[in-house]
Amino acid sequence: MALFNLNVDGRTRVVDVDPATPLLYVLTDDLALRGPKFGCGLGQCGACTVIADGQAIRSCITPVERVADEAIVSLEGLGTPDGPHTIQQAFIDEQAIQCGFCMNGVILTAKAFIDRNPDATDLRLREALSTILCRCGTHVRILDAIRRYAREVSA
């Protein structure tokens, strides 16, 4: 076990965990976050995504010790139900959610990508999402919501 001062959503959180623990379990068990999800534990679906120093990473295969000094942003850190972030609002406006379990990975991956590439082509956007899985078939609305966010970022 080891103590870590994690920077999560702008707050310092102290946890005492095995350094090899995947970040996901620290966020969900120790910090009780509801955004990051266990989908596969293999880095194959994106449900566990968080943004670490501006990069979307897979928290299910990232040991906590590797991100101990990075600024971690979770879906909960972007906005609230009553005060959603622009990209969260885009998903609300487009009603681009069915079961919603994939949304954590979708929204954070799209945000990290669009924030760096607001004028990306559809092809490049799809490439950025190519390892994100949605099983409900919400693909069309998800892309619409991300394009809406990209327009608002560019405006």
Binding site: V17, T21, L78, Q88, I97, Q98, L133, G137
Partner: protein, 781 residues
Amino acid sequence: MRPPATMWNHDALAAFDSAGLSRRGFLKTSGALIVGFSALGRTTAAVYGQGINGAGNNDLDAWIAIRADGGVTAYTGKCELGHGLYTAQTQLIAEELGVAFDRVTLIQCDTEMTPDQGTTSGAQSHPANFNRANLALAAATAREALVARAANELGASADELEIENGVVRVVSEPDRQVGYGTLIGGRAFAMTLDPAARRKHPGTWTVLGQPVPRVEIPDIAAGRFEYVHNVRVDGMLHGRVVRPPVVGAAVIDVNENSVQGMPGLVRVVTRNNFVGVVAEKTWQAIQAAERLEVSWSTPDTPLPAQDGFHDWLRNQTVTRGTLIVDSQDVDRNLAGAATRMEATYRYPYQMHASIGSACAVADVRDTSATVWSATQAVYPLRNTVGMVLGLDPQNVRVIFRMGAGCYGVNGADTVSYDAALLSQAVGRPVRVQLSRKDEMAWENYGNAFVIDLRAGLNGDGGIVAWDHESWSPNLGSRPRMDRPGNVVTGFLAGFEPAPFAARSQAPQPANFNNGSNGAASYVTGEVRGVQGGTGNIRSQRVLTHTVPSPFFTGPLRSPARLQNTFAHESFMDEIAASIQADPVAYRLRHLRDPRLIEVVQAAAARANWVARPSPQVGNPRTGVVSGRGISCVFYEGDNGYCAMVAEVEVDQGTGAVEVRRLTIANDSGPISNPDGLRNQLEGGALHGVSRTLLEEVTWDDEKITSIDWRTYRPLYLGATVPEIQTVLIDRTEGEAMGAGETAVTVVAGAVANAIFDATGVRLRQVPFTPERVRAGLDARG
């Protein structure tokens, strides 16, 4: 517009307590009593209804409560699965009771709180709750009761009154008014549902029928929504199961010393062939489960080979035959036909493969248990958890919390048993979430199928005889009220799956039941002089066989209906092509149900369908070519009309198929929420594309080998996705039907027909992988 987010999950009991009413009192009085037997041989007490819609409840107070502030709390046994039902049911209550949407609090699926409505599945929620029974009838009964009380209170007759947002007033003297809270707030109605209570006509709707945004979406988008995966209970531990390495293996020995002293480990739990570990933290449980040494037996016989599995299926001698329809003249009419055609269609096992592996939390005490579960069936699960734990089901409470989209019986029930068994062993609450492999290797898969079709044509190209014979494997299914062994954990813990009831000679049907869509849309479905089908082919036989499956199977979005419709709609296209007929016109020639005809015409019109035969003349034999195809269904023979036009591109070099556009026309009666309906049709369409092009369960001679997203690869977000057009037919005079499974049912047929239109290659085996497409192209010569 939305109720406070916390009401969705947390404050259900508080809401009712504030109304001053005891829930259990209302719920106990209902339901047919059935005596069951627990695993330990003790007689279990009252359990509830067996059917998909449960026992229901005839007591108005079981469904509707008026709060002291005049707001409405409603209770439903049909739950949100990501398909928008929670919002639509809230609209229903607001509409019928004449209150604003945000004055309604809906409590869903909790055995302490809500009526027994069986299972939320089979696209049956709209038929059950949006017509003239159950939730809708309760709301209508409550409105009429409130108006009657108001009439008495105000000294007016009911027809002089109107309702606006929970206030009843005299139309001509609006100052004479009384609110719902004054009339009955916090008190019981103490009356039964009134079968004569009138629903509001859809033409007058102001809340129902509107595209109300889904209640859960702001919380989901902001990462605040409480899925079952997020349930946290004081003192909760974390469990992990250890499944057998191969199908049919049994525990020989569990070496607990192999994990002794591991950090956080609380206990190793073994019960028959069920093995699991409990630890203080998730990561500790995962590590202990990986290190635990378990000796397993080696099964005597290998699994049937995947290569040739469909032939294995049709060659089984132990089968259960069912005749859906048999005019008893099919062989004669086939023999006498001017032309005969036949073809065989094959469909693989597929998975629910929910993106979130299954999860549950259980808190088992000496004589009682509480389970938080994403089950579609809280009352049945209560009963079978009681059996697994040896507890009286009356002392088991099952509380629904939404999981990842399930699309049928995924791991939600089995993981509920996992959590319950582990919690019972340690005497503390335990959370279990399955690993990706444990979920995928032991699911109740959607059925494989092999389907033989034959048709006879007369000299004009009309179909004069239709013959269907099919084989599909079955093992287990939903646990229902008394079969925990129908899913893997119950089986490992010592419960048998439902026995296979062989029947070599299928009896003649007593009536036409097309719930499996085994009968194509083009036959009359005539049984004992009554025509229950949608077509005009009178000479018809539909014989189905189930055979024992080596793997667990269970309902997967459009079970059997999808597989049968793929075969029928492909075959219809083959017949049309054989006489150079336009596929739409040829279908219409054999249909007689006006609503099915209308969706076919509407889809074709929106897709700018040009009448001509398939395949497309003049497409080159190399490079990328395009084509179009159509498919239709009357889902389950009584539950939603749908037609789809697919437009595809086929790369004749690689064999890759891309679906460019899908046009869907749907008629499921009066539309509760057009945006929610559209979302379901779009999602069903893409779920169908994924299953048509990509998905197939694989195995070797001892185990499942599709165990992650590399070995079972669905449609990722990076894929090229089609444009989707929807035509929503709002049939306000009709019955409310299901719409969650209509679109997915017609995709494979429409895409197969479009590939044929583009290339002249007929694909008769799903999924249409590039290898299979290339093989077809090569065989074309």
